[in-house]
Symmetry: C2
């Protein structure tokens, strides 16, 4: 029986898991939740995930949430190809990149992205600008890391790449919106501001079945 993935279109955290499933060639049953319809607040869903967030994975009776946890589970259960390193050194680096993303990019990124997409809090220009500065500083570090390496976690595509990529995509999309204009986000065009990230993103976009993971409501 295929695993079930509960996800939302445009959620970078769900996107990570979809990329993991595609890279490992694992079939899955797609359960697309529409937050606007309250799909994530139904009693049935809250029983699976009391936080009402995505992604959630259901594998038989086993239920798991939090994107990095799901990726770890899938990697342990289906180790080919390994996404958390072939050596202890790679494992450490991959988790370092992911921990830095979670600790420094995610919350600052949210402060930039949320007002732009929701239209709420756009008056807090100072807060948005400060968060954007943090995001730029962090992406600069990622860009520098990619100057000397094709991938973030060693010689191969890994959980570090798949984990960071959807956040970069979300930030780039937010920055391209009309509502972002008044703020000097300084993220676009990616190829100029973060050239190594731009090339790395192309490598991820070239992965087999990448297109299947692209957020449906982002398609033209």
């Amino acid at each position: 029986m295929a695993v079930e993935l509960y996800w939302g279109s445009g959620s970078p955290f769900a996107w990570r898991v979809m990329l993991t499933l595609e890279v490992k060639g694992l079939p899955y049953e797609s359960k697309l939740l529409e937050f606007s319809k309250g799909d994530n607040r139904t009693p049935a869903y809250l029983e699976l995930n009391p936080r009402g967030k995505v992604p959630t994975l259901k594998d038989g009776d086993y239920v798991l949430y939090e994107s990095l946890a799901i990726m770890s589970y899938l990697d342990r259960k289906y180790p080919d190809p390994p996404l958390f390193g072939k050596t202890a050194e790679e494992t450490g680096l991959i988790w370092q990149v992911l921990a830095e993303c979670e600790s420094y990019v995610v919350s600052a990124g949210d402060k930039v992205v949320r007002p732009i997409f929701s239209g709420k809090g756009l008056d807090k220009a100072e807060e948005i600008s400060q968060a954007a500065e943090t995001v730029r500083r962090e992406l600069k570090m990622v860009d520098e890391r990619l100057a000397g390496s094709q991938w973030l976690g060693g010689d191969n595509n890994s959980a570090a790449d798949i984990g960071v990529f959807p956040l970069v995509q979300l930030l780039a999309r937010a920055a391209s919106k009309e509502a972002a204009r008044p703020f000097n986000l300084g993220l676009l065009p990616l190829a100029q501001t973060f050239p190594n990230i731009a090339r790395w993103a192309e490598r991820i976009e070239a992965l087999p079945n990448y297109q299947r993971t692209y957020p449906p409501h982002w398609r033209p």
Copy 2:
């Protein structure tokens, strides 16, 4: 050659790594940094860890920071006893607990702990109370998880326990301070508010060599 651990007294993140080293019985060279003396801002340290934070691990030429990354590295290199699960299901649960801790406890906890220890921002009572409410809600969930299990990540002590425990200790210590009195943090006494957490903490405190990991400046 023993690994070198750069740490700070009372840092919950460094404490995680010390517990990992002790549980695995690994010798290490202690490099205690005093933040008040700027030990973490020296050029030599910033070369190891550009963020100037702790912990940092040095194993020969290999340098790694971010506590969960270091724990993953050590577990992969010295797998006995395994701290990230014996099965995929345990691995998933352990990382779920850790991800929830990082995403929901750490930032709220910091908003409670930092003003109490630093004496700065104590006037932001509303912010502290809100953060304390988040912390209580999260610890409630941890407490409920421990109602049915001795450990957070399965049948054995794991990275989930070692990862969450120092945060709980730090919060309890902050709550016991004079500066915390004006706020109704609602965390103490732990044995009454979160009885399962209190019993679980005793189990961790009973681990061999636990005392070696206890923050020196917390000792009576």
